[in-house]
């Protein structure tokens, strides 16, 4: 598949013969950042034609949980490099977590991240603001300042740390209501997880690694859904990882509590048995769990108890992972592999169809995070945030499949289905033929004709 220009000076694209998530095969025309036509034999009318035969078109994926590491961790990832990784993975919007250095707990930091994202231009970058100053869990961060800043923050999270103090959690839930925001909680009871290294169970017992018990996640979620009920506030649960957590969320939703939940791709596919060789690529927080937990989170995602998949993309440099287990950093990169892992764990198993994938990776995360201009099912007038994927592809996932700065992927060497063929952001391709479209210094696609030259 290669773009064939049907005219000069056009910035319109015609995606020919793409299959939508509802099964219809259509032509899709993108122009000026919106979808201008969807249907049979849409007139190319000077648009660049892209053959999408055999490909599925979905609205661009939206990640509610991304670590872009900038400012402070530029050795592992930058807003630019993380944006490229996102685009390659089929994402058109990411929400950048607040645990940077310095922490994104003031207007100036979130505005800086927003500006870096805009300048990079590969995806929409939406900064997440910290709940507490310095993620220290003692004083509220400048929540209003961040909400009213140019970055217009709507998601607040101390991710990496749990808002453990119940009173502070209550106040934060209440206060964030002012701005119609959502608190995304990293559910981890700190006392129950002191020094924790691996899911508490047979593997931690055998390997002699301090256990991270499921109950440490479940008690916080149980407490928080009750606080959400009491305050009427919105709660979002980050990276839910245990069977018990699924049960708690199911119970809370049945009671009408305003809670949403996410699961990561790795918790849908991988288990703690992978830690057997002490390979720190498999060290992540919350830790990889048991087979029963994997089965439960899959079922929870399938029945809607879990609303979304979010990557928890967590880049780390070489040294942070090539060392003894307890000294290694938590986290794994996930943007580039997320869709393939969801296909492997959920679609190939018959638990989700592509319409569900569209919901859990695009529509619902955009709604939860208030990410405007994203997560819109493809229709005339919807934003031209679209990806084309080849579900029949299969590849041995390798370093060449990674587009960010770090290579701490747990999937290296593993066969995964599916491939992102093209990503369109703001109506222009950021990825074509599976490769990033290099952008010039002005953040312009090199494929886009220079407007002045054709004036």
């Amino acid at each position: 598949m290669s773009p064939t220009s049907a005219g000069n000076g056009t910035t319109a694209y015609l995606l020919a013969g793409a299959r939508l998530s509802d099964g219809r095969t259509v032509d899709i025309r993108l122009e000026s950042g919106v979808v201008t036509a969807v249907g049979d034999r849409v007139d190319a009318g000077g648009a660049t034609r892209i053959d999408a035969d055999g490909l599925i078109a979905l609205p661009g994926l939206v990640d509610l949980h991304t670590h872009l590491r900038e400012p402070g961790g530029e050795g592992a990832e930058t807003v630019l490099s993380g944006s490229r990784a996102a685009a390659v993975g089929g994402f058109t919007a990411v929400n950048a977590m607040a645990n940077t250095t310095p922490v994104a707990d003031t207007a100036s930091i979130v505005e800086q991240v927003q500006a870096l994202g805009d300048a990079a231009g590969y995806v929409t970058v939406r900064p997440i603001g910290a709940v507490t100053k310095g993620l220290a869990g003692t004083q509220l961060a400048d929540i209003g300042g961040m909400a009213r800043s140019k970055a217009r923050v709507r998601v607040f999270s101390d991710d990496g740390s749990c808002v453990a103090d119940p009173l502070l959690m209550r106040r934060a839930l209440e206060y964030i209501r002012t701005f119609d925001g959502v608190l995304a909680q990293h559910a981890q009871e700190p006392r129950l997880t002191e020094g924790a290294q691996l899911n508490e169970g047979p593997m931690s017992a055998e390997l002699g690694l301090a256990g991270w018990p499921a109950v440490a996640e479940e008690t916080i979620i149980a407490r928080d859904v009750l606080l959400a009920q009491h305050t009427g506030a919105r709660l979002h649960v980050c990276h839910l990882s245990t069977a018990g957590s699924v049960e708690v969320i199911r119970w809370a939703k049945a009671r009408g509590i305003r809670v949403t939940a996410e699961v990561t791709p790795h918790h849908l596919l991988l288990t703690d048995r992978l830690a057997a060789g002490y390979d720190a690529r498999f060290k992540v927080n919350p830790p990889l769990r048991s087979d029963a937990d994997v089965e439960a989170v899959r079922a929870g995602l399938a029945d809607g108890t879990i609303d979304i998949v979010a990557t928890d993309h967590a880049p780390h440099g070489h040294d942070a992972k090539h060392c003894e287990w307890s000294a290694a950093a938590n986290g794994m990169v996930g943007l580039e592999s997320a869709l393939s892992v969801v296909q492997e764990a959920m679609v190939e198993t018959g638990l989700l169809v592509w319409a569900d994938v569209e919901r859990v990776l695009s529509v619902a995360p955009a709604r939860i995070g208030g990410v405007e201009g994203h997560g819109q099912p493809i229709a005339v007038g919807s934003a031209a945030e679209i990806i084309l994927i080849d579900p029949s592809a299969r590849r041995d996932f390798g370093i060449a499949d990674l587009a960010g700065k770090s290579v701490n992927s747990p999937y290296l060497g593993r066969s995964l289905p599916g491939a992102v063929v093209a990503t369109f952001h703001l109506g222009a391709p950021t990825v074509l033929n599976g490769h990033i479209v290099e952008r010039g210094p002005l953040g312009r696609s090199s494929l886009e004709p220079n407007a002045t030259a054709h004036a």
């Binding site: 390997l207 002699g208 690694l209 060789g277 002490y278 060392c323």
Partner: protein, 315 residues
């Protein structure tokens, strides 16, 4: 055998072979000249990230009696606090010419990472890693137990049908883990005894019985051996048990419990002992205590382990 990282992956034949070679090594230690030329020209580095004078000098004696050159490298503190990575330290030692790296590390799995990372070509011998394993301790314990039971007929023997109680802080004990695997591989029946706070979660699949009541366990199993683990008194501050006195009364090998043991039962302890806490002096100093034999046997066992790893012996 290129590395000795755990007893978990030692099969029965290999374990018995190792113990038999340790018997050969022990025999040489009865001679007037104890030194063997076996590892002449080889360099053994004792890389200790944690203080452990006992284990270090045991390995040092073992290596020297095999005529190896020994370098002791004390790298106390974690790689992170020290600012040098495990990789750099190991590669430095290899550049110096280490053939075998004996590593003691506070982080579980560090020896395996070292052995399998591709950073070095040297053999790696685990001298205790975090709360994971301490394979040579388990081997010397099995060696000691086998000798007590089989005497001069030890060679080729296993521990089939022998009942062993392992008592104390199982959760944090690398000695316990290594002993569980090795003893059960050799056919012994192992019962773990301790407060539920110090029994690991998730051991349903282990080849052991778990008991909380030491008196009942002694009565029920009629043990051939009772292995008392060292319990750090600081565990009290982390609420694993209310007080040292209560611990001693419920899980210590008191004089009364020692008296209640069957006549043939031996008392083992990896050392160093907390006398009057997990073990009463009357038990520790009795003829049925193997504590000092364990130390002596440690040298023979480690000679066997060094020999097998340094020479890539058939085991």
């Amino acid at each position: 055998m290129k590395h000795l990282l755990s007893t978990r992956d030692l099969d029965r034949d290999t374990a018995i072979q190792l113990l038999d070679i340790a018997e050969d090594m022990a025999a040489t230690q009865q001679r007037e000249v104890k030194k063997l030329p076996t590892l002449r020209g080889k360099t053994v580095v004792n890389l200790f990230f944690e203080d452990s004078t006992r284990t270090r000098i045991s390995f040092e004696a073992a290596a020297k009696r095999l005529s190896a050159d020994v370098i002791n490298f004390s790298a106390k503190g974690s790689s992170v606090s020290k600012g040098e990575s495990l990789q750099d330290t190991a590669q430095t030692l290899e550049a110096i010419g280490a053939d075998v790296i004996v590593i003691r590390h506070g982080s579980s799995g560090a020896p395996k990472v070292l052995a399998e990372s591709g950073w070095i070509a040297a053999s790696v011998l685990n001298a205790g890693d975090g709360t994971h394993e301490h394979p040579t301790q388990a081997l010397l314990d099995a060696f000691t137990l086998r000798r007590r039971i089989h005497g001069d007929a030890s060679r080729g023997a296993a521990l089939d049908g022998i009942t062993v109680l392992i008592v104390g802080d199982i959760l944090h004990s690398r000695v316990a883990r290594s002993n569980v695997w090795l003893l059960s591989t050799l056919g012994a029946e192992v019962t773990l005894v301790g407060p539920p706070t110090l029994i690991p979660h998730g051991i349903d699949g282990w080849p052991v019985t778990v008991a909380f009541d030491l008196d009942a366990a002694i009565a029920d199993t009629d043990p051939d051996a009772v292995m008392m683990l060292r319990v750090q008194t600081e565990r009290m501050h982390d609420a694993y048990f209310p007080s040292t006195r209560e611990y001693a009364s419920l899980w210590g090998l008191t004089a009364a419990r020692f008296a209640a043991l069957p006549e043939r039962a031996v008392v083992m302890h990896p050392g160093p002992m907390n006398r009057g806490f997990e073990i009463a002096s009357v038990a520790a100093d009795s003829a049925r205590s193997t504590v000092r034999e364990q130390v002596a046997n440690g040298v023979s066992t480690r000679m066997a382990a060094l020999y097998l790893t340094a020479t890539g012996g058939a085991a």
